[in-house]
């Protein structure tokens, strides 16, 4: 196969590319330029797409004896990931920009260009596994190393995207193994620190970065009964589950600490309450996608074939995960068709969490699993605690 190895300049993508070469594929390394103003040097684990990262990717390709190119996706990245991030926060939601980047950049803009230029697949250093079932349908599974597993951030990939994806690190027992392999192969990135945080916020100060992009205005902090308990400098600077920095004037009746339960951008209100109310029992998700064939019908015992427009699925058992390194919890889910407010139907995913989860915010993604298999995902529209009466 002709394989395009997306090279971030990190150790994972370098080893992934090396394994693709070993497997006999015709591999070309490509670094994605995602910023118009790349920094020169990395600072520790922060930042991304610096000239240093580009050079590291380049040197890895030299070592592997494969061609290397830099492709500019900075405009797409700015619109599809960075602007989306700002818009989501402005709307009071908490987006996952890495997921968005996988969905719209790596496995859409890049993949499309790669296919047009004659490649069969895009290879990345993600820890996840793509397998094909007996009918040739693609399935996405967790990586062998659950500690490094990244199937969550790939959960948004559709069948068509998975068909052209290659994750050679799938079966690696641990990250240490990947570093050791990089060392053996003489790749200079073997000891390079892992990336953390959001690549386009190099100093890691998300709140400060957002404050420059989003118009903030002071508003009320209210408790779960709607009573005003303080003021905030801008609702968008808060995240669900946050405890620090609330500066509440009125103490809680029980004297216990209070947490952000909800952000209401339209009313510019931040709702706070006791820790117990952070436990979410029910999630409603929109913009759902299936990581393979449209499966809930099959799961529910409905034949999959010919069901392009599922009206509603039966309830099925699964595990739900709401953040990249969060633990999956047992859940029951079903698809419902609801009015989108404009008179047409949209599919919604209703997930009932058997074990409640804390710190779930609209905008986050809920990914559903059965065993190691990723079923699909939805963007969380509402998350509620059944113990909390609606305001």
């Amino acid at each position: 196969m002709r394989v395009l190895a997306a090279m971030s300049g990190g150790v994972d993508s370098a080893v992934a590319a090396a394994r693709a070469v070993d497997a006999g594929h015709d591999v070309v390394g490509v670094h994605l330029a995602l910023s118009r103003m790349p920094g020169t040097l990395r600072t520790g684990s922060r930042g991304c797409c610096t000239v240093e990262d580009s050079n590291d990717a380049w040197r890895a390709c030299d070592k592997l004896g494969i061609p290397y190119y830099v492709w500019d996706f900075s405009e797409r990245f700015k619109e599809d990931v960075v602007q989306d991030f700002i818009d989501e926060y402005a709307a009071g939601r908490t987006p996952n920009p890495c997921m968005r980047c996988n969905e719209r950049i790596k496995f859409a803009a890049l993949l499309e260009k790669a296919i047009a230029l004659g490649f069969d697949a895009v290879c990345t250093g993600h820890y996840a596994k793509v397998v094909q079932d007996g009918n040739g349908n693609m399935e996405l599974h967790r990586a062998a190393d659950w500690a490094k597993d990244q199937s969550y951030v790939l959960g948004v990939l559709t069948h068509e995207q998975l068909r052209h994806s290659m994750f050679p690190l799938a079966d690696t027992p641990s990250k240490a193994e990947v570093r050791a392999e990089a060392e053996r192969r003489g790749l200079s990135v073997a000891k390079k620190p892992d990336s953390h945080d959001i690549c386009f916020i190099p100093d890691g100060d998300t709140a400060g970065w957002l404050a420059e992009k989003i118009q903030m205005s002071t508003g009320d902090i209210v408790d779960e009964s709607g009573a005003k308990v303080g003021e905030h400098p801008g609702a968008n600077a808060f995240t669900v589950g946050q405890r620090r920095g609330l500066k509440l004037g009125t103490p809680a009746a029980d004297g216990k600490p209070r947490f952000v339960l909800e952000i209401r951008p339209k009313e510019n209100k931040v709702v706070v309450g006791p820790q117990a109310l952070l436990a979410i029992d029910e999630i409603r998700g929109i913009k759902l996608s299936w990581a393979g064939e449209p499966i809930p019908q099959a799961l529910a015992g409905i034949p999959a074939a010919g069901l392009a427009e599922p009206a509603m699925s039966e309830t099925f058992d699964c595990h739900a995960q709401v953040r990249a390194h969060g633990d999956p919890v047992p859940a029951r889910a079903r698809v419902e068709m609801t009015d989108d407010g404009g008179g047409s139907l949209r599919a919604e995913l209703l997930v009932t969490l058997i074990e409640p989860l804390r710190g779930v915010s609209p905008g986050q993604t809920v990914v559903l699993y059965q065993g190691t298999r990723v079923l699909g995902q939805a963007t969380i529209d509402t998350a509620r605690s059944l113990a909390r009466p609606a305001l």
Partner: protein, 411 residues
């Protein structure tokens, strides 16, 4: 052997340069030392200086050896600005063409940011030719505040040869020094420092068959410069640093060889270039030649330069596909991270960012032959069709994903 169509980036070492380089590399001696070895090395440097001066139409004392074109540009632009501004603080304006190489463009921008310079970017026409009327208007409107004028001799991307004689004539009326980056012009077309009226002119070794890492600033004898780097006071106290004897000897050998053969070689390469342009136009009728059309104004385009924009595709897609077919070209000018950005030259010529993204430069040189042109012309239609299919990276991907599927049919 790949088809090499990127001579404007660097051109292979010429035979005379290789001979001079290898012969000198095996010897030792610091040209500033006072003993025999030093004197021998000094003699090699001084002979090279005389050769270079002779072929560039300069006096040997006007040759300041540097590490290359970028250093020469920095030294000229910063040095002239500082010297003129120190002599008369009212002189803080730099008049500069809007199609300069980054070595001048970024230097001027740095002076603006850090040294209080006021920069006037002079416009160009649709072919990248400097608008002399704009220069004249700036000079007439306030020559007393101008520190220097800098206009490249020939553009590295689209090959447009600038009206240097007219520029210096206009500036001379007001006694304003003019610098020109002649890195692309020197060796390609007739260049005479003395006849040009320039105060300073940058040249580079590796664009004409010399080694990388050596160049020169030709600097008029009466022109005062403030040095950029300080040290042992070599090169008229303007450019300190031990002289690179072997590289300098090889540079001079290359320059002598190129300039001697320039009339015949220039005509030969221009012939290949014309065949390339005609071939590309017939193979890909959508391709748009940028810069002066050599069939209309042969003197106004570098003989080795052909530059096109290919509508509806990314220059880097085209570069990739041609590279995979063994044809080496460029999207315009190389840059550090390898990130192709829409060219400021094309934007200054009035192209949209989208049109500018489809740029591809094919540059010919002393190793080029008819087979190179034929292979390019044969490969281009398929490469263009594919690159066009790959589309523009700035456009929204047509791959349907979770957040783009707003209808329910696929859910």
């Amino acid at each position: 052997m790949p088809v090499y169509l990127d001579h404007a980036a660097t051109t292979p070492l010429s035979g005379p340069a290789l001979a001079a380089l290898t012969s000198e590399l095996s010897r030792s001696g610091n040209p500033s030392s006072l003993h025999g070895s030093g004197r021998r090395a000094r003699a090699v440097v001084e002979q090279a200086r005389e050769i270079l001066a002779a072929v560039a139409g300069a006096h040997s004392s006007e040759v300041i050896f540097t590490s290359g074109g970028t250093e020469a540009d920095n030294l000229a632009v910063k040095g002239l600005f500082w010297a003129r501004n120190a002599a008369d603080p009212a002189r803080n304006r730099i008049l500069v063409s809007s199609v300069e190489h980054a070595a001048v463009q970024d230097t001027v921008a740095w002076l603006e940011k850090h040294e209080g310079a006021e920069v006037v970017w002079l416009p160009v026409d649709a072919d990248g030719m400097l608008r002399l009327d704009a220069l004249k208007a700036e000079l007439d409107g306030g020559a007393d505040s101008v520190a220097l004028v800098t206009v490249m001799w020939a553009n590295n991307e689209v090959g447009t040869v600038q009206p240097i004689a007219e520029v210096t004539a206009l500036a001379a009326v007001h006694g304003i020094p003019v610098h020109s980056d002649a890195v692309q012009a020197f060796g390609s077309i007739p260049v005479s420092f003395a006849a040009s009226g320039l105060a300073a002119m940058s040249v580079s070794g590796h664009k004409m068959g010399g080694p990388v890492g050596v160049g020169a600033l030709l600097l008029g004898r009466a022109v005062k410069l403030v040095p950029v780097q300080h040290g042992g006071g070599q090169e008229r106290d303007v450019r300190s640093g031990t002289l690179a004897t072997a590289s300098i000897a090889a540079f001079a050998a290359a320059a002598q060889d190129v300039v001697e053969h320039q009339p015949a070689e220039g005509a030969r390469i221009a012939g290949l270039r014309d065949a390339l342009i005609a071939g590309v136009r017939s193979a890909v009728p959508d391709a748009v030649l940028r810069g002066r059309d050599p069939f209309d104004a042969p003197e106004q385009r570098l003989p080795g330069n052909a530059h096109f924009t290919f509508p509806g595709c990314e220059g880097d897609s085209l570069l990739f596909l041609l590279d995979m077919m063994g044809i080496e070209s460029s999207t315009g000018s190389a840059c550090t991270a390898g990130v192709p950005r829409p060219s400021h030259v094309l934007l200054a010529m009035g192209l949209t960012e989208e049109a500018a993204r489809g740029a591809q430069r094919f540059s010919l040189g002393h190793t080029s032959g008819p087979a190179d042109v034929e292979k390019l012309v044969a490969a281009l239609p398929e490469a263009y069709a594919r690159a066009k299919h790959a589309g523009m990276a700035s456009h929204v991907s047509t791959i349907q994903t979770a957040s783009t599927k707003h209808d329910t049919s696929n859910q």
